[in-house]
Each structure stands twice: as structure tokens, then as C-alpha cells.
Amino acid sequence: MLEATNLECERGGRELFRSLSLAVKPGEALRIAGANGSGKTSLLRILCGLLSPSAGEVRWQGSRIQSLKEEYASQLVYLGHAAAVKDDLTAAENLFISCSLAGIALRADAVKQALERFGVPAGATPVRKLSQGQRRRAALARLSVSETVPLWLLDEPFSNLDARGIELLKDLFVRQLARGGSIVFSTHQDPGIAATQVVDLG
């Protein structure tokens, strides 16, 4: 279970939010809503440990995430605003490498399968030649091979996706929640997904 208590965040001398508390239990999805610049990305970065909050703390299974370090990192998938794919590599190489870095060893056919499911060309095309939506899909394909990871933290996962892509992602969400995993994601518009809780940063 992911818990955050009394989080406060200040960026560039401006206070984004204060005394923000949340708890995400297994099988729950939390949606972070809010206008541009309201601190959605900062909150997600705090939750995954990339950013330290000005005050407050984040706990995973009862322990502070700063003391868990890599142990916590191996329990989560964070997909940020940047797609985290290398333009010069193919989608398959990207997926294989990002999984290896996360400590998941993938076989070549598993990589191919995951990309096929997301409709990404698995051939020798470097990612730079793909469209924005396809790049997004290549990044999201990571989720379909992260089924054993209990916590997903996703920054604007629905941006740049077409209707079919959104359906695929929703399907992954449903299955992650059914397995008892947790999801925290941000959107500026309502994607029509039944989130268990909504945090509105205004």
C-alpha cells in the first residue's frame, strides 16, 4: 500500500500544494486531476522518489521510500511525461533495455508479443521514424510486461493515444487492478475510467 502524508511541494518559489495526504490500497486506482502547472507531474515524481517533497513523507508497505531505495524502485513502474525511448533504437531494443534496467529479463518473443499487442512495428524501424502516438505506444508496451509489478505511476498516459490505444490501456488498467496492483495516474481531462479516488490539485 502506498501512503503519503502531509506532502508539501514548492517549485521555483511557488507553492504547488500543501498538507496533501493520500493512500492507495491494492486493487485501487488514484487519478490526479488538475490544470496545467498545478503540480500533477511533481506529485508523481515525489511519489516515485525522484523529487523530495518540501515537507511530508511517502511510505510503501509501511516503510519510508528513502530507506527502501532500489527495493522500492523494483516495485514500481514510472512512465513520465517524456516517453523514455531512445530515438536511434528500435521499439524492441527499447523495450528490452528498459526492462533489463528495471530488473526484468525478457525473452525476444515476449518483447515481440508485447509490441504486437500494442500495434507497434517490431521490425528494424528506429523509433525516430514512428509517429508520436506510436512512440507513446512503444513506451506503454512496458506495462504489458510489468504484470508482476504492484505499483504503476503514470504521467498523462492517455496523451497522444487514439481510441484503440486508449481501449488497450484501459484493458491493462482493469487487469492490473484485478490482480491487486495499484495505479496512480494523472490526466487533465476525464478519460472515462472509474478511478477509486480522485485527487484534484485545482
Binding site: G49, L101, G103
Partner: protein, 222 residues
């Protein structure tokens, strides 16, 4: 942990292979700069022999600096650096792997090609071994120290100039000892002492630089 380090090295080498021009730029820079000196100074064998170690070492140092800025910048821009911070392996291991990959594509080719360059300076053939060995031991230190600077200046405007100002003074001991090894050998005193010093510097840098690099990366990504 070693799987992650291997993966980072594999990835960076693959990227270098796809963008061969970046690798070639640093190497060509080294070749051209070292070739300019004999042309500018003229064919005075004694003078050329005397300046050879220093010129080759300074060029190697500048060439290493040239490719440093891109070490973390590209990964920072496309978000893959964040993924490395959230990886299963400690960031220090990833940082060491990145510095090693940087050395493989920037330092190693220079050490290999240096004896060929030394021909232009009429350096005695028995010194080629010392020259190559000093570069082989010294350039990884340059990559490790440089990576600390690259991590600290990541995402800054005008980071390139700041990086040079930050890193070049730290390169000075490596330059003095590295070039000194060849000069001592040329004087018939044997460069063994300097080479051992370089090896010691490499051990110390390999032990401590990864933690400094990862601390720098964490600060820059906040």
C-alpha cells in the same frame, strides 16, 4: 546488478554504433589537432620529439571533454535517465557503466591510434608502448572525473563552458603524470613510476567517482 551494468554498456555502444558520426567527431578532432602542431611548428625534429607527449596528451584531454557534454544530456532529454534512477540496480553502478562506455568509444580509440600520431613527431619507436599504456590508464580517469562534471552541469544553460571550467583543472594531475611517463621514458629513466601512479589514480577514481556521479545526477534531476 551486473546485468544492469552490462545492459547500460550494451545500450550505449549500440547508440554509438547508430550514431557513428558522434564517435568519429571526437576521434577526428584528436587526429586533426595533433596533426596541426607539426604543420605549424615546422619540421624541427628535436622540438617535435620534445613536445610530442604533451601535445598528444592535451589533445586526448580536449577530445575527451568534447564528447562529455552529451554523456547524460541525451538521456536526460528523452527521460531515460529518470528510468535509470528508478532502475533495480544502484545508480552508482549505472554511472560507472556509463563512464566505462564513454571510455570505450572515446578513450580507447585514442590510446590505440596514439602511436600512429606519434610517428609525425618522430617519437622513438620504443616509446610507443609507454605512450599507449599511459593513455590506456589515464583516459578512463578522464572519463570518470568528466562524468562527475557532466552530472553536475546537467540541464544548465551554458553547461558546456561551465563543464570545461569545472573539469579541466581536475584533469591537470592526470595530464602531468601521463605526459611525464613518456618524457621520463624518453630520458631513459623509465616511466614505470608514473604509470603506477596513473594506475593508482584509476583505482581511486573507479572507486569514488561513481558515487559522486550518482549524487550529482540526483541533484540535477530534482
Amino acid at each position: 546488478m551486473f546485468a544492469a551494468a552490462r545492459c547500460v554498456v550494451y545500450r550505449d555502444l549500440l547508440l554509438a554504433l547508430r550514431r557513428r558520426s558522434d564517435v568519429a567527431t571526437a576521434l577526428l578532432f584528436f587526429v586533426i589537432v595533433t596533426s596541426l602542431f607539426p604543420l605549424g611548428i615546422g619540421a624541427e625534429p628535436n622540438l617535435l620529439r620534445a613536445i610530442a607527449p604533451g601535445v598528444i596528451w592535451v589533445s586526448a584531454l580536449l577530445s575527451s571533454l568534447l564528447s562529455l557534454r552529451r554523456l547524460f544530456e541525451a538521456d536526460h532529454d528523452d527521460g531515460t535517465l529518470e528510468q535509470m534512477l528508478l532502475g533495480a540496480a544502484p545508480l552508482g553502478v549505472v554511472a560507472a557503466a556509463k563512464a566505462f562506455a564513454h571510455w570505450l568509444v572515446s578513450g580507447l580509440p585514442i590510446a590505440v591510434i596514439a602511436p600512429l600520431i606519434a610517428l609525425q613527431y618522430d617519437l622513438a619507436a620504443q616509446l610507443f608502448g609507454v605512450l599507449a599504456l599511459s593513455l590506456l590508464l589515464g583516459t578512463p580517469v578522464l572519463s570518470l572525473i568528466g562524468a562527475i562534471g557532466a552530472a553536475l552541469t546537467l540541464g544548465l544553460r551554458g553547461g558546456g563552458v561551465l563543464l570545461s571550467l569545472l573539469v579541466l583543472p581536475l584533469y591537470v594531475p592526470v595530464l602531468i603524470i601521463g605526459a611525464g611517463a613518456v618524457e621520463m621514458a624518453a630520458a631513459g629513466l623509465g616511466g614505470g613510476g608514473q604509470l603506477l601512479l596513473l594506475a593508482a589514480m584509476l583505482v581511486v577514481a573507479a572507486a569514488f567517482a561513481p558515487w559522486a556521479i550518482s549524487a550529482g545526477l540526483r541533484i540535477s534531476l530534482e
